[in-house]
Subunit: 153 residues, 2 copies
DNA sequence: TTGAGTGCAAACTCTTTGCAGGCCC
DNA sequence: GGGCCTGCAAAGAGTTTGCACTCAA
């Protein structure tokens, strides 16, 4: 499954004549197999553990490349850094405003909803729409408990 | 209109026992009357022109305060800095991926759509939902023309 | 072979912080 | 009058850049 995903993503890059270096494959594979919304720093630290030696500059270069090809999306969770998420299946994100934890939300209505937004946006602004990112903000279950808010559910 | 808006916003702050300093009023008023999605730096530069002397630190402090009280929302347009927008009427944003220009989109369906998202998100993640931000990315009319893409409309 | 990619470290930009003095409530 | 807010400058964090070397195609 993840292997197919990786092959598929590599195919897309190859079709755009992007050079497939070991570093790029490693980072792409990391993002496909880790749905933890890591920052560049986290990717770097994790990959350093294994014998994959990769510099932080290459991590930044590569994630930007992957974002440009719409394979990965950027997320901000309020901690100052940018987090990344492989975007294989359409989904959106909810960010905990207290601890910054990010969760994925897969909604069947998502694509229909996106189409609606595209339509409205294009009519109203004449912008050419490429993609829509939805970000919900709230409190994760842990932080609700921590803050004594569970009775509010 | 803008005066009512300002009075309304100040009322909200006052009800939370927030100290209403001249700087805070000035910045809030600036954001209510300028729907240009400025960065902290832009607000600072603009206010420096007039005799309002305000430090950049105060601009950062104040916009964060306003974001905390949900009077203002933060936007990223890819230029590295954070932009701010007074959030009087519910709306969302489209960002030009080429030049970074941000436009507002007011959709009547927006609040219904938000409710749907809240529902789905809460059921799926058990997060307590506070707010939903939608950000559409695309190309503004000017950049479409500049890039010779108008025939794609 | 060759030019794009990598690694390193320094530089840069945006934002935050510490502290002394000022002023809103 | 008390304590939060402001202004200044310096520090901090995250990200980008310049350059020499490497390697995928």
């Amino acid at each position: 499954m993840a292997q197919n995903e990786l092959a598929h993503a590599l195919e897309i890059l190859k079709s755009h004549k992007v050079r497939l270096t070991p570093q790029r494959k490693t980072i792409l594979n990391y993002l496909i197999t880790h749905h933890t919304h890591p920052s560049a720093e986290m990717i770097y630290e994790d990959l350093k553990q294994h014998d994959d030696s990769i510099s932080i500059a290459t991590v930044y270069n590569t994630v930007r490349l992957l974002v440009d090809y719409h394979l990965v999306i950027e997320l901000k969770n309020g901690d100052g850094s940018t987090h990344f998420d492989y975007f294989g299946q359409p989904h959106y994100h909810i960010v905990c405003e207290n601890c910054g934890k990010i969760a994925d939300v897969f909604a069947p209505e998502f694509s229909r909803l996106n189409q609606q937004l595209d339509e409205i946006t294009r009519q109203q602004t004449h912008y050419l729409v490429n993609r829509t990112d939805i970000e919900v903000k709230g409190l994760c279950p842990e932080c609700q408990a921590k803050l004594g808010l569970l009775h509010n559910r």
